[in-house]
């Protein structure tokens, strides 16, 4: 295969994988604290529209990205307040967050549909970025791509090499025991949820500022839900998240190439691939019940109310 085609395929895989990696990293931290936030899709959508609107209005992509993170975090705050302070059912609240997010994003974005913004600028290191194949791949990406890796490695380091990470895992494993020792379970979960929201917001911003550089209704197209499935796929370990995100990014891209190859399979059927793959992968991972139980945070989805 021509190296230019290869590079373009690899680049497109990176850009399809990055939003998944960002959102799933955030959700992984949230779930590790014992909180199940099914509203990733909604938080991503709000992030995508906020990021786009701010970038479009101010001309500053940096401001847009920061605003997207804040937007996602604000959504997560709503979720946390309902589930942590008001003890609402986490599954139902997550769904409400998604329904609300779809509506909110559609309303906020109504005036922006069809307007383009400049794509997030890629890194340019003279000499390195021009190298064949590795140049554009390693030294020509935009900031959010590098950040997605940084966030993943930072999360791994935080979770397994710091006391704060140990406490977060402990809260997810047994909130009662953590509370008995005196750790502020609720505050820790708020923090984890806000991080998850901010990461979802960034994932959304990546879609509207880099992946397509424009905004459209429901542009996440289920990626938030796929990110949720990726956390299960990774059995709550960050290392495997990278593999999962790039696997799914690859499948998404494969879909486009099957279409261009003109094999004669209808486009709609090929578009089902990522969703069907999600189902298949979920089945393969979940079928080992022991492994899921061993790795899933024991308090995932369970409400916590300190008596007394």
């Amino acid at each position: 295969m021509d190296s230019a085609i290869l590079v373009s395929i690899l680049l497109s895989i990176v850009s399809a994988s990055t939003p998944l990696l960002l959102a799933a990293t955030g959700e992984l931290v949230t779930e590790r604290s014992g909180l199940l936030n099914l509203g990733v899709e909604g938080m991503m959508l709000v992030g995508s529209v906020v990021g786009f609107a701010v970038t479009y209005s101010t001309g500053s992509a940096l401001l847009g990205v920061v605003a997207a993170a804040l937007g996602g975090a604000a959504m997560a705050l709503v979720f946390s307040f309902l589930t942590l302070t008001l003890l609402a059912n986490q599954v139902a609240t997550g769904l409400a967050l998604t329904i609300f997010g779809i509506g909110l994003a559609a309303m906020m974005g109504a005036g922006f549909v069809g307007h383009p913004v400049p794509k997030l600028p890629g890194l340019h290191i003279p000499g390195l970025s021009e190298l064949p194949v590795v140049g554009p791949l390693l030294f020509g990406q935009d900031a959010l791509v590098y950040f997605s890796f940084l966030a993943l490695f930072g999360t791994t380091w935080f979770l397994f090499h710091t006391h704060g990470g140990l406490v977060l895992r402990a809260v997810g494993d047994s909130h009662d025991a953590a509370h008995a020792i005196g750790y502020p379970v609720i505050r820790i979960r708020y923090a984890a949820a806000l991080f998850g929201g901010a990461m979802s917001g960034l994932a959304g911003a990546y879609l509207s500022l880099s992946y397509t550089p424009m905004w459209a209704e429901d542009m996440t197209a289920g990626r938030g839900w796929i990110a949720l499935a990726l956390v299960v796929f990774a059995t709550w370990r960050p290392g495997r998240l990278l593999l999962g995100a790039y696997l799914f990014g690859g499948i998404t891209i494969l879909q486009f190439h099957v279409q261009t190859l003109g094999i004669g399979v209808p486009a709609q059927l090929v578009s089902m691939l990522p969703y069907l793959a999600t189902i298949v992968v979920l089945c393969i991972i979940s079928t080992d019940r022991g492994r899921i139980r061993l790795n899933a945070p024991a308090c995932l989805g369970r409400p916590f109310h300190a008596a007394g």
Binding site: A88, A92, T93, F100, L104, A106, M107, V232
Partner: protein
């Protein structure tokens, strides 16, 4: 809960669940949603009172409008009754939208296959086809959950995307109307494939009465039958269900088959009634809105009936507001999301009460 505050509210568990708040919570949630909507309209530069009137009152004032409430409410109620049974048993079928679409597709298949037949059995045959389509789509997550332990929330949702793509494929491919000027939609169904209208001058069709019947059956199952009891026990305490000898597998199958079947039936009535053909515009989020209906109706079939009417009104009001006030269509969805937020928040009072903590009563 927060230390060091001069005076604050503390959340205290109640000894027993509050019956009063079970019913008061949705009412309060609706009131709070209206207040929030008024503020939202103000921010959008509309007169809040006019906007509220247009959205929540005007649709009820004409006979036709009032009838539309039931036409819109019927699919919501049909789907939500099925979801409520499942949610009771902690079976989280989130993919009712996909099951709705599959029901519509199966029913359309029958209608298109017998397009030239003018006898009423065509319509009759579409009913089981719709139920079958939805139940089939609901059976997949049930099978995957029981066989592979795969989370039904994610699988049923992924299947919704798949169903939408199947619908798209059909209307641009094999089922595309040859005389449709290239529009992606099927032929209009024959008259024999349309639900009989019941009340002249309105669009009220047989589906509305089917929804009412399902409410009655659902109520009976849930409150009188052993089956309903099993679902409730499974939802409250899976270990107690195992102790009693109630089969989780059987109840999971049942929840998803019934939920899917009813969603499929709703899809069938939608294509055979108001729409009359298969179009890409079929998925309007009824399957997701029905989740709100189920919660608003306290997962109780009779409550679902009221919840369905409230949410149907929000659709009608949203359309009116779009036309008359130029409000964006998304306002409907936002309102629905906010309603569910408030409802979940107000449900706090069912199990807990607030206690004002006044400083000065310091311990030790």
């Amino acid at each position: 809960m927060v230390r060091g505050w001069p005076m604050h509210l503390e959340i205290v568990a109640r000894g027993e669940r509050s019956k009063l708040w079970t019913y008061l919570s949705p009412v309060l949630a609706i009131v709070l949603t209206l207040v929030t909507a008024a503020i939202l309209f103000l921010l959008l530069g509309k007169d809040p009172m006019t906007a509220l009137k247009v959205m929540w009152l005007d649709p009820l004032l004409t006979k036709r409008g009032f009838a539309e409430l039931f036409v819109k409410g019927a699919p919501l109620v049909l789907i939500a009754v099925g979801l409520a049974l499942g949610f009771r048993a902690n079976v989280w079928n989130i993919g009712a939208e996909g099951q709705f679409i599959m029901g519509a597709i199966f029913a359309s298949g029958v209608a298109l296959a017998f397009h030239d037949v003018t006898a009423w059995p065509v319509w009759l045959a579409m009913i089981p086809a719709g139920i079958l389509g939805g139940a089939f789509w609901g059976a997949i997550p049930a099978f995957l959950k029981l066989r592979f332990n795969a989370n039904e929330i994610l699988t049923s949702l992924m299947l919704t995307y798949v169903a939408t793509l199947i619908l798209l494929y059909l209307v641009v491919g094999p089922w595309k109307d040859p005389e449709g000027y290239g529009f992606p939609q099927s032929r209009m169904f024959g008259d024999s494939a349309n639900s009989p209208r019941v009340i002249p001058g309105t669009r009220i069709h047989v589906g509305v009465f089917a929804a009412l019947a399902v409410v009655g059956i659902g109520w009976f199952v849930l409150s009188k039958s052993l089956l309903g009891f099993k679902l409730k026990v499974l939802g409250h305490a899976p270990r107690a269900a195992a102790y009693a000898g109630f089969s989780t597998g059987q109840l999971t199958w049942l929840s998803l088959l019934v939920g899917g079947g009813l969603a499929g039936l709703a899809g069938m009535f939608e294509v055979a009634g108001p729409i009359g053909q298969l179009t890409p515009a079929l998925p309007t989020g009824y399957g997701f809105t029905a989740i709100i209906v189920a919660f608003l109706g306290r997962l109780h079939p009779v409550g679902v009936l009221f919840g369905g009417l409230v949410l149907a009104l929000s659709y009608l009001g949203g359309e009116k507001a779009q036309i008359l006030l130029g409000l964006p269509a998304a306002v409907t969805k936002i309102n629905q999301g906010i309603l569910l937020f408030y409802l979940l928040a107000c449900d706090l009072f069912i199990r807990y009460r607030l206690r004002l903590v006044v400083p000065g009563r310091k311990a030790a």
